[in-house]
């Protein structure tokens, strides 16, 4: 590790003054060198200071199980873009330019990420392919189903997609900006609504990062409850994805069954905390609701049949040659592309990349409950579906084990006050992949800067690549096989 970076573990903090600093071009060079030797960019963002902006880089070294941070001196103007050689930085650099006017020289596609043009995002020009046979298809922001808004611009030759550009920003609610100076009265609720289907994931990252700022840790039983809730969230969403994927290839038995079983898993979360999406459960300092023996027995009694049913419904799916024919070889992302683009979560694991925060950077109860990483080679719709199925099985098995060995003790302690001028990082493996929260406290102990990276921020480009050379009619199953968040990206 170069001297430019300081090492730290997931869910820990570092005094801001102990984060090594260097000029911005130097930081860009050092970051590029670390990416070359296998690092992964978790976050790259600006912190305003004096008349300039300090850039903070957070890297993950998965095989070493460590993270690394560094910062630049306050800078203005421009610097040599990372993206030119390291595509995984492309959105981070666009975002930095949009928010802090630091121009990455040599960025091949510098345009806004979520900026507003009044009543719609300022998306500007889309990439265009010219030629007599080329036609352009524009879809969205409003889509045909009950789904979030985003704009898709396809460049096609006949049925074949040559290029897809995805324009987002429609869901922008100003969450990061509103966090500065916080936590405020509504902060916890805004965090729980970063992406509603990942409430537990984001709330756990937020609680963890605040606890790390304070140098504290939640009681063990609360960490265990967070694991239970996070795996229930994974079960519900992966089951819903099996339903949606089956539905898109008109395989109704699995679609109908999994649509309902997903509700059974959501209801287990509601059994725990009253809310089907886990709102109100996770708080800095612990959890608000306990799993008493009677409730635990009820939960176990309902979990087993739901797991058995999803197993059966998935077996129909894998048994059907018509399904395999529609999934195999469609929407392929190659392992090298996935690595270069920094994909995370099931989308990365379906390209054969062994990458899972629960395994690589365990925090909370995952330090005591390791599970194997579910990987499938291939990179196509089949692989992404298959990884979800493997994860369903493993999450089910993990829950069986964990629900049989309950730690005693309190579930919540008074949240300690964050220490001043401290930087903390939390990674959580949400069902879509790596959720990264980076918090910086100011001299008053309040939040000076808060950075949120939803897994969708890494993965939308994966969907765009998956469509290259595909029939445009395969867009729905490719899209469902990623099932990315619009609001988590737009923040």
């Amino acid at each position: 590790m170069s001297a430019v970076f300081a090492q730290l573990a997931n869910a820990t903090s570092l005094p801001w003054a102990a984060v090594p600093e260097c000029p911005l071009p130097e930081l860009a060079r050092a970051t590029a060198a670390e990416l070359d030797r296998g690092g992964r960019l978790c976050a790259w963002f600006g912190v305003p200071e004096d008349a300039g902006t300090r850039v903070v880089a957070v890297l993950a070294f998965d095989t070493d199980n460590t993270l690394a941070v560094a910062r630049s001196r306050p800078a203005t103007g421009s610097y040599p873009a990372l993206t030119a050689a390291h595509p995984q930085a492309h959105l981070f650099e666009r975002e930095l330019w949009e928010q802090h006017a630091l121009r990455p020289e040599g960025h091949p596609w510098l345009k806004p990420v979520r900026a507003s043009a009044g009543d719609a995002p300022a998306l500007r020009d889309f990439f265009r392919v010219d030629g007599r046979e080329i036609h352009e298809v524009a879809v969205g922001p409003v889509h045909a189903g009950i789904i979030e808004p985003g704009h898709f611009r396809f460049q096609c030759a006949g049925e074949e997609v040559l290029h897809l550009e995805i324009g987002l920003g429609y869901q922008h609610r100003g969450i990061e900006r509103a966090l500065a100076g916080g936590p405020h009265r509504a902060t916890q609720s805004q965090i729980e609504a970063i992406a509603g289907d990942s409430t537990i994931g984001h709330a756990t990252a937020y609680a963890t990062v605040l606890e790390a700022l304070a140098g504290a840790e939640a009681p063990l039983r609360a960490q265990w409850l967070r694991l239970v809730a996070l795996e229930l969230e994974r079960l519900a969403n992966h089951t819903g994805d099996l339903a949606a994927l089956a539905g898109d290839v008109a395989f109704l038995p699995t679609s109908a069954a999994c649509g309902r079983i997903r509700g059974d898993f959501l209801n287990l979360t509601a059994l725990l905390c009253g809310n089907r999406f886990g709102r109100g459960l996770v708080r800095p300092g612990g959890c608000r609701f306990d799993l008493e023996p009677e409730r635990l027995a009820l939960l176990l009694g309902r979990l087993e049949p739901a797991l058995a049913e999803v197993e059966q419904a998935a077996a129909w799916l894998w048994d059907a040659a018509s399904v395999r024919a529609r999934f195999e070889g469609v929407g392929t992302v190659f392992a090298q592309q996935a690595a270069e683009l920094g994909l995370v979560g099931p989308a990365a694991r379906a390209c054969g990349l062994v990458r899972d925060v629960r395994y690589d950077h365990p925090a909370g109860w995952y330090r005591l409950a390791q599970m194997p990483v579910a990987v499938w080679p291939g990179g196509d719709v089949f692989a992404r579906t298959r990884v979800r199925w493997l994860e369903l099985q493993r999450s089910g098995q993990l829950l069986r084990e964990q629900l049989a060995a309950i730690p005693e003790g309190p579930i919540r302690e008074e949240a300690a006050r964050p220490r001043p001028d401290t930087l903390a990082v939390a990674l959580v493996e949400g069902w879509r992949g790596e959720i990264c929260h980076v918090a910086l406290s100011g001299a008053d102990g309040r939040l000076r800067n808060y950075k949120i990276v939803d897994p969708s921020f890494h993965n939308w480009i994966g969907l765009a690549l998956a469509l290259r050379g595909q029939a445009i009619s395969d867009f729905p199953i490719c899209n469902k096989s990623f099932n990315l968040s619009y609001c988590g990206f737009d923040l």
């Binding site: 189903g145 922008h172 109908a256 009253g274 089907r276 129909w316």
Partner: protein
């Protein structure tokens, strides 16, 4: 092989669609708590314990005594219920909370301890939509939770289609617009265009606290604080997100399909 498997499975399970509304409604989870009831007469003088813990400033202490609780801003976290020293705010366990007018969500005045549930559409619209309602959904800054529970209504357990209610792909085919989310500024144009593309007469239904008031995002300059900043809203369905049962109750109430005697509106 799977053909026989699936048929056997279907036979074993039988019809999975719930009996509601002909039969009893499914139970809410015990920790859900349902809607709120406010007995402001029990408020101690000068007390603002509930207002201090509310994450969205949904509770306004009255100058003299008592409070006004806006269920359209409520996230149902029940912190106020726990904080109240007098038991003035209680959870009723009732899933029904859809209203026709925004002010019907304000609780606290004598006679207004609970929400004033939605009345059905009047004669002509009820005749038009009562047995066939086509809805177009637009998420405008929504976080995909209310959207998910709208999708749930289409699954076999709920089977929204049996009421003649269906979500359609085009605003041209729609009788009503269902909005979720606080209405982000970046979706304002899309929401307006969708509404303008719908034929008259048309309804607007705001689903979830975010769509009613902006929810936890109210006041952020990036959002417009709910659907009625942009469009006239005909039905408000509170919840964060609303339970599917709450949404279904609201829709059926609007269409007069619940089989209850129609509520007599006594207020002026």
């Amino acid at each position: 092989m799977f053909v026989l498997d699936t048929i056997a499975h279907r036979l074993k399970r039988g019809c999975e669609t719930m009996a509601y509304p002909r039969g009893p409604a499914p139970d809410l989870p015990d920790r859900h708590g349902g809607t709120l009831r406010v007995e402001a007469g029990q408020c101690p003088d000068g007390c603002r314990a509930c207002a201090d813990v509310c994450p969205t400033a949904a509770i306004t202490p009255r100058p003299d005594r008592g409070i006004a609780l806006d269920l359209g801003r409520c996230l149902f976290c029940a912190e106020c219920v726990a904080a109240c020293p007098a038991g003035a705010i209680t959870q009723t366990g009732d899933y029904r909370m859809a209203v026709r007018r925004r002010e019907d969500l304000i609780l606290g005045e004598p006679g207004q301890e609970e929400v004033r549930l939605a009345a059905a559409l009047d004669g002509k619209l009820r005749k038009l939509f009562g047995r066939s309602l086509r809805l177009r959904q637009v998420s405008a800054g929504g976080d995909a939770s209310a959207e998910a529970d709208l999708n749930v209504l289409g699954t076999i357990g709920w089977d929204l289609g049996r009421f003649g209610i269906q979500f359609v792909a085009s605003p041209r085919h729609a009788d009503g617009l269902v909005i979720t989310g606080p209405v982000s500024r970046n979706m304002e144009l899309a929401v307006r265009k969708t509404w303008e593309a719908m034929p008259e007469p048309k309804l607007v239904i705001a689903v979830g606290t975010c769509a009613i008031s902006g929810g936890p995002f109210a006041g952020n300059p990036e959002v417009l604080n709910g659907a009625d900043a942009v469009l006239p809203v005909d039905l408000y369905i509170p919840g964060w997100p609303p339970h599917p049962l709450t949404i279904l109750d609201g829709l059926l109430r609007l269409l007069d399909r619940l089989g209850e005697p129609r509520p007599k509106r006594m207020r002026s």
